[in-house]
Amino acid sequence: MQSQPILRLRQVVKKFGNFTALHGVDLEIEEGEFFTIVGPSGSGKSTMIRLLVGMDELSEGEIWLRDKRIDQTPANLRPTCMVFQSLALFPHMSVGQNIEFPLKLRGAAPADRKARALELLDLLRLPQSYYQKRISECSGGEKQRVALARALAFDPEILFFDEPLSALDYRLRKTLEKELKSLHARTGKTFVYITHSLEEAMVMSDRIAIMREGRFEQISVADEIYGRPVSRFVAEFMGEVNLFDVEGTASDGLHGKGIEIHVNGDTRDFGISLEKGVTGTLMVRPEYVRFLTSSATADFIVRGILRAEYALGSRIQYEVETSAGQTLTVEKLREDRFCGNEGSAVILGFDAENVHLIRGT
């Protein structure tokens, strides 16, 4: 039996004057899910979260929280809570007073409030002595944890996040991403997270929605979005990628400029065939591309010239210019480093099980 989704959007439209920010969006989020909405700036993700929290009114459509329609309910009457991009910690209150704020609004007794605040400090791995601290005395990471504790004190049905990690440095962001994921597991709450960073989304989420120009382009688990994107936009948004324009041939095979196809067996078996005359995009991620020695073979072969090599830390990235004038990206682990001179001719190969075909262009 499919359980009822905790949050359901039906044909949600948001217009600002003549500009339509959201074009009739549908969405279902499951109970206890870590759901991330990713998109470039201007894709409508911020508009989306403001509607979900209740800080803006939608133009058309419905938002349901379980079996209650909430789109006309103002933010202060919704049982959801958000961690803001700026964190919005109250500078005139101590850490403890910030965490207790939602409890105070509900008229909880001071002793109960304090007990809960100390519990939350423990949960967020902050020392209890922080209860007395001023917000200005906390570091960036500590402020994040205080903001989380305050949102959890509210005990929301859904916890929303509006890019709360975007202002932090790389290392701290990486640590907090993992902490958020573990916090999600420990609290069992539904998290809905907005970000422009694909890495952040991949590390933490159960499911990811890719937004583009006010619509969802694809909603799926991270592996699916990374390995089987529905469009060029998703493929390019989710990290480095190599794309080839291809066209179906009479025998249901593929033909592409500058790419030799030697698929062992029928391309249809791999789901990478097109009807005659139909165009598509063949995608392969850089880590699946091999440098071939003269004797080796592969399902797809591309010839080119090594143009550049970049050290990315644990991986090495190569740029290869193909005979068709296209630039391809190849990535190898440092231990599998390819030794070649810049300007030398190379042969690249990859296999049918690692490619994905996007129909249409």
């Binding site: 800080m55 202060n76 009457l77 809570c81 700026s86 919005a88 101590s94």
Partner: protein, 270 residues
């Protein structure tokens, strides 16, 4: 950063000029107030605190102080309230006539005070209001409330709107947000606005001259006595007025300090 040689010289010149043009004249009033002579003359031959005693016993002086204080205190309180809401309209909320409001509010400040005072007097007369210290309050407010509003608005501009949104998101009503978030965060600005309002009203001469009618404030009396019938109480009252202002500044600082320590002790109790 260490200032360059020329910057240092400029700073010295500036400091000396300040002392010379601001504090030395003030000191001369101070000396005059403790001179035993009935008329202003330097050097002072005999010193005495007689005029201070006289001033404290004089009924005229008491009336003057009471009138000035009444006007200044009421102007301060009203200015603080108006400035709080005015600053929200000025800096926080987007509404249709906001830019117009922002420009209009500056007008009274650019208006010469004498012209403003005259205009208000004529207006009071034409609507049949007899000028007293109460009409002076209105006149002071026309000029001072916009200044106070600007002072609070500066504070309101540096205010993250997400703070109010976060409070609302956690269930706070508009009134609660105002009481728990907006007001405490703007309070330092409101206190400085109050301080300015008091000092500007306390020392104001041109507006009072036109609009107090038969009543008289301290600056008005000082002027009147200089023009005709000099009183040795003039420098004495001048000094008392300055001392009053200083006491007020001290009060404002201790009030700020008090608010902070109350907040800290409250958070310690919880």
């Amino acid at each position: 950063m260490n200032p360059s040689r020329s910057t240092r010289i400029a700073l010295y010149v500036y400091g000396i000029a300040t002392i010379f043009f601001l504090y030395v004249p003030l000191l001369s009033v101070g000396f005059a107030s403790v001179s035993k002579a009935r008329y202003l003359s330097f050097p002072i031959k005999r010193y005495s605190t007689k005029w201070y005693g006289d001033a404290l016993q004089s009924e005229t002086v008491r009336d003057l102080l009471v009138t000035s204080l009444k006007v200044a205190v009421i102007v301060t309180v009203i200015s603080m309230v108006v400035a709080f809401f005015g600053a929200l309209a000025f800096a926080r909320y987007n509404w249709r006539y906001r830019t117009l409001f922002q420009k209009l509010i500056l007008l009274p400040i650019f208006f010469p005070q004498t012209v403003l005072g005259l205009a208000l007097l004529m207006w009071f007369n034409s609507v049949g209001i007899i000028p007293t210290w109460k009409t002076a309050i209105v006149a002071h407010l026309v000029w001072i409330a916009p200044i106070a509003t600007l002072i609070v608005a500066i504070r309101a501009y540096s205010f993250d709107p997400a703070l109010e949104e976060a409070a609302r998101d956690m269930g706070a009503s508009t009134m609660t947000i105002l009481r728990e978030i907006t007001l405490p965060l703007l309070m330092p600005g409101i206190i400085s606005a109050g301080l300015f309002a008091f000092l500007l009203s306390w020392g104001n001469f041109p507006l009072s001259l036109f609009t107090t009618g038969a009543d008289s404030t301290l600056p008005e009396w000082l002027y009147a006595k200089m023009v005709s019938g000099y009183s040795p109480l003039v420098p004495t009252l001048g000094v008392m007025s300055v001392v009053g202002s200083f006491l007020l500044i001290l009060l404002a600082f201790s009030l700020n300090w008090l608010i902070r320590s109350v907040r800290e002790s409250r958070s310690a109790e919880n």
